[in-house]
Amino acid sequence: MKLLVCPKDKDIAKEIARGTSSFLLGVKSYTTNQDCCFTVEEIKDIRKKYPSIEIFLLMNKNLYNDEIESLKKTLQTLDTFALQGIFFYDQAILYLHQKLGLKTPLVWNQTHLVTNYNTCNYYQQQGCSYALLAGEITLDEMLTIKKNTSLSLMVTVLGYPVMSHSRRKLLTHYFKYLKKPKTKDRYQIKETMKDTTYFLREDETGTSFYQGKCLNGSRPLFTLKENDFSYGVVFEQSMEEATLDQIIPLFHTILNNDFPKEEDRDKIVKQSVELLESDNTGFFYQSTIYKVKKNE
C-alpha cells in the first residue's frame, strides 16, 4: 500500500523530499474541491522531470455540455502522458474513455457514492481499475468491499473531508446580500448547537463545504495496509506546511514498516494526534443513521 498525495501547491520536489512518490494532481478546469490545479502543459513537464513518480489526475467536477469538446481533446492529450490513472466523477469521462479507446486507467471517484462492492464490480466491468471509497462508510464496510471485489481500492486517510458541493456561489451571494466585499475564497462557519466549525471554499465550479477538523486516519491505515488496499489518499489542502513536514513521513512510516505490537501502533497514532491536533477518525468507526422514526 502506498500513500497518494494530492499536494497543496505545485512544489513536487518538496513532496518527494517527504518520501512521497505517488501524486494526485488537480487539473485546471476539470477539478473541484481543490485549490491546487495544474495545466496540461504543467502535467507534461512534471511527467518529464520526474519520470519515476506515479501521477494520477483528479478530474472530479460535474461537466456541462459546453465543456465536452475540450474534455475530449484533453483526455486524448493526457492519454499520451503515461499516467497511472484518472479520477472521475462525471460519467461523461468514463463514456468518452470507452468511446475513444483510451488507455489511461480510470479511478471511480464519485465522492460520496462509492459505498458498496456490487457497484465497484459494475465499474470494474465498465473498465475502471480503481475506486476511491466514500469517506462516509465504516472501516468494516470497506473491508467487506475489499473481500468482494478485485478492483484496486483507495481510501482517504488524511485531510479536511469535503462534505458537500454546490454549483451556487454561496459566498459571493452572501456578501452581495451583506453589501460587503468578499476578500477571500475561504471562510469559516460555525454551527452553534454543537460549537463545531466548518469551512467553505468558493471557486468557478461553485462552493465546497469541508469539515473544520482534519481527518486523522492513522489508526485505520494499519488495517487498510494489512488488507491490501492500494492507496491511502492524502488531501493536503488547508494543512500547515510544518505539520505536513512531519505527518506525511509519519504516514509513510506506517506503510513502510511492520508494527505487530499494539503499543507501537498506539504510539504512532498518539504522535499523529499531537501533530494534527485532531483525533477525528470520521466515519471509520461510526456509522450514520438513515431511517428516522416518526417520534425522533
Partner: protein, 416 residues
C-alpha cells in the same frame, strides 16, 4: 410544438396522496417503498399498497414509478432482488434509480419495466446521458442546476426521455454530492435521512450580526411550461412526497390546467398570472426559476429575516354532496365563519365561488363558526360538488400579497 403531450408527474408519500394527485390531474406518480427510497421519513408504501396504487392508477390509464434511489451500502443489497421482483409483480411502470449496478440488474431481469435515472445521479451533460442510454435507461431526471439551453442541447443530442423538476423545494447543493446531513447530524443524506442542514443558520467569521444561511427559494416554473414543452422535455416533476393533501391538489390541479390550456391554445397571460397567484398562495416560501434562465444568484436564496408563511386558506375537504338537501359535507381544516367568501376546486378542474350562508354540524345544528379540525360540517351549495374537492378562502389576486401575515390559527384543537 411537440404534440405528444408532456407528462405531469406528481409525488405521493402514501396511498391517499397518490389518489388525490391522480384525481387532480397527474399523469403519473412517483412513490417510495418502505425501503430503498430517499424519503425515509415519509409514510411510504408497503408492497400491498404499491399493488393497490398500481391498480388504482392503471384503472385511470396512469402510471406509477417506484423510487429505489438510495446510495446502496453493502448491507442494503440484501433483500433488494426480492423487493424489485415483488414491485414488478405489483405492477409498477418504472423504477427510479441512481446506482448503476441496480440499473444493470433491472435491465437484465425485468426488461418490461422502464428505468429512470434519479436526479441523485446529478446528470449535467449529454455524454453522461448517452452513457446511461447505453446502460438501458429509458429516462433521465436531469440535475436541477441546468439552464434551458443546456436541457435543450441534451434532448437534441441524445434522444433520451428527459424529466425535469418544475415545482417545489430545491436543494442548495448538488444531489448526490451532499453529505452535510451525515457530518452535522449523523443522518445519511443519500439513504433517506437528510436533515436539511442547508436550512440551518450558521455563525460566520468576522460577521457577528448576520448569520450565514444558504437556503434556497422554492422552484416555480409555471411561466415556462410552454418553453419546456417546446424544447422536448418528456415529463414535468413536482417535488414533495411529504406535502399536504391541499398543497398537492392545488399544485397538481393548477399545472394540469396550465398544460392542458397550452395544448388547447387557450392559456393567456392573465390566466397564467392567476395560476401563479394560486401556486403562490399554497406555498410557504418565495419561489424562483433558479438556473433555467440564468446562473443562480443571491436572489434565489433566503437570508436571515425570512419567515415561512403558515397557510390557512384551506378550509375543508369535501367528503360528499347531499343532492337532496343541496349541501356539501366537508371535514373542517381551518377556521371560517358564515359570510366568508370561499371557493371549492374539484378534481375535474372545475372551481366554484360562493359566500358561506350558514354552517351546520353533522346533525344539522347551526354553528356560529367552523372551529374544530376534522369536524364534519354541512354547508348549503346549490351546485353539485365532486367528492374529494377542497374548499379554500377566496382571495382576489389584486389583494396585496406582500401584506400577507402569519396569523395564529383560530381553530380550537381538542385533546382526545
Amino acid at each position: 410544438m411537440n404534440r405528444d403531450k408532456i407528462e405531469l408527474l406528481a409525488p405521493a408519500g402514501d396511498l391517499e396522496r397518490l389518489k388525490i394527485t391522480l384525481q387532480y390531474g397527474a399523469d403519473a406518480v412517483y412513490i417510495g417503498g418502505q425501503a430503498y427510497s430517499l424519503r425515509a421519513n415519509a409514510t411510504n408504501f408497503s408492497m400491498e399498497e404499491i399493488a393497490s396504487a398500481c391498480q388504482f392508477a392503471h384503472a385511470l390509464k396512469k402510471k406509477v414509478y417506484l423510487a429505489v434511489n438510495i446510495v446502496f451500502h453493502n448491507e442494503d443489497i440484501e433483500g433488494i432482488y426480492d423487493y424489485l421482483e415483488q414491485a414488478v409483480k405489483a405492477g409498477i411502470d418504472a423504477f427510479i434509480v441512481s446506482d448503476p449496478f441496480i440499473i444493470s440488474y433491472i435491465c437484465e431481469h425485468f426488461k418490461e419495466v422502464e428505468i429512470h435515472v434519479s436526479t441523485q445521479n446529478s446528470t449535467t451533460n449529454y455524454e453522461s446521458v448517452l452513457f446511461l442510454k447505453e446502460q438501458g435507461v429509458k429516462r433521465v431526471v436531469l440535475a436541477r442546476e441546468l439552464s434551458k439551453q443546456e436541457i435543450k442541447e441534451i434532448i437534441d443530442k441524445t434522444n433520451v426521455d428527459i424529466e425535469v423538476f418544475i415545482h417545489g423545494a430545491m436543494c442548495t447543493c448538488m444531489s448526490g454530492r451532499c453529505t452535510l446531513s451525515n457530518y452535522l447530524t449523523g443522518r445519511d443524506a443519500n439513504r433517506g435521512g437528510c436533515s436539511q442542514v442547508c436550512r440551518f443558520a450558521f455563525d460566520f467569521e468576522d460577521e457577528p450580526t448576520t448569520k450565514f444561511t444558504m437556503a434556497t427559494k422554492d422552484l416555480n416554473m409555471a411561466h415556462y411550461i410552454k418553453d419546456l414543452i417546446e424544447i422536448g422535455v418528456k415529463s414535468l416533476k413536482v417535488e414533495g412526497r411529504m406535502r399536504s393533501h391541499y398543497y398537492l391538489a392545488t399544485v397538481i390541479g393548477t399545472y394540469r390546467k396550465i398544460i392542458d390550456e397550452i395544448y388547447e391554445g387557450t392559456l393567456t397571460e392573465d390566466k397564467i398570472k392567476e395560476y401563479d397567484f394560486i401556486l403562490g398562495r399554497v406555498a410557504n416560501r418565495e419561489t424562483s426559476t433558479h438556473y433555467f434562465l440564468k446562473e443562480a444568484d443571491e436572489t434565489d436564496q433566503y437570508y436571515t429575516g425570512r419567515q415561512e408563511l403558515s397557510n390557512q386558506d384551506y378550509l375543508g375537504y369535501v367528503l360528499d354532496y347531499d343532492a337532496i338537501k343541496k349541501e356539501v359535507i366537508l371535514s373542517e381544516r381551518n377556521y371560517f365563519e358564515p359570510a366568508t367568501k370561499v371557493e371549492i376546486f374539484m378534481p375535474s378542474g372545475k372551481t366554484i365561488t360562493f359566500t358561506v350562508e350558514k354552517i351546520m354540524d353533522e346533525e344539522g345544528n347551526l354553528l356560529d363558526a367552523a372551529r374544530h379540525p376534522e369536524q364534519v360540517l354541512r354547508i348549503p351549495v346549490f351546485e353539485t360538488i365532486e367528492k374529494g374537492s377542497m374548499m379554500r378562502l377566496k382571495i382576489e389576486r389584486n389583494e396585496v400579497d406582500e401584506n400577507r401575515q402569519i396569523e395564529p390559527s383560530k381553530n380550537e384543537f381538542i385533546t382526545k
